[in-house]
Symmetry: C2
Subunit: 127 residues, 2 copies
């Protein structure tokens, strides 16, 4: 991939998703790769069980880049494999789980806190 | 991928990006796969040269799922291969070009018109 000229204005945010994943070692720690229209595109490596939570005011989209995961809801469970996506509507309690490591992209408002309405050791407030 | 139970409420939008591409034959005709937070996630197959345009009020993210493309700007050109992304800031003139067919995802406000400030045969107002 060619990088834009240094004199290009305004600067253009461009990169490679796989290269971004290569920078990540910790699980459940989203990394912001793009900010646009007050939204974030985040990437994360996940493994194990996350916490039950909801986002009162934010819809959240999961997209699986590598591996597989499940999203547990109170009344159903959705399995996602590579290339699958799922939109969790605001206010809906959910718990992401990955039995083996998965690489995911997230699309959500920049205000979104990863653990939503709960605070645990997994909560990250300083993305 | 398991589908959610039919009695799940509210309904959960889930699907597979590659399956969505399999539904597409026309080039430069985005297909909305998700609506969330007043934003769209769209997929499109592209081939050839698009039109120069800008989006006055909308930032637009390109993400290459398969193949490669370039985004021409007035002062530079960015090449994108599989897994690459690029955020085009609002107001910045650009022209997407694909020398061979590419499959892309777009993240942008639901209000975004594909040809931005210009109207051509490629303009789609009824996404």
């Amino acid at each position: 991939m060619l990088q834009p000229d240094s004199n290009s204005a305004p600067s253009i945010n461009t990169g490679n998703v796989h290269a971004q994943f290569d920078q990540i070692s910790a699980h459940w720690r989203p990394h912001v790769i793009a900010t646009l229209n007050n939204q974030h595109v985040r990437v994360a490596k996940i493994l194990g069980e996350f916490v039950w939570h909801n986002h009162a005011d934010e819809d959240e989209m999961f997209y699986v880049v590598r591996g597989s995961m499940i999203i547990e809801f109170r009344d159903t469970t959705i399995e996602l494999s590579e290339g699958d996506y799922c939109v969790v509507p605001r206010g809906v309690e959910h718990r992401p789980v990955a039995k083996t490591e998965a690489w995911i992209m997230l699309f959500e408002p920049a205000t979104t806190i990863n653990t939503g309405n709960v605070r645990t050791d997994l909560t990250i407030l300083d993305l």
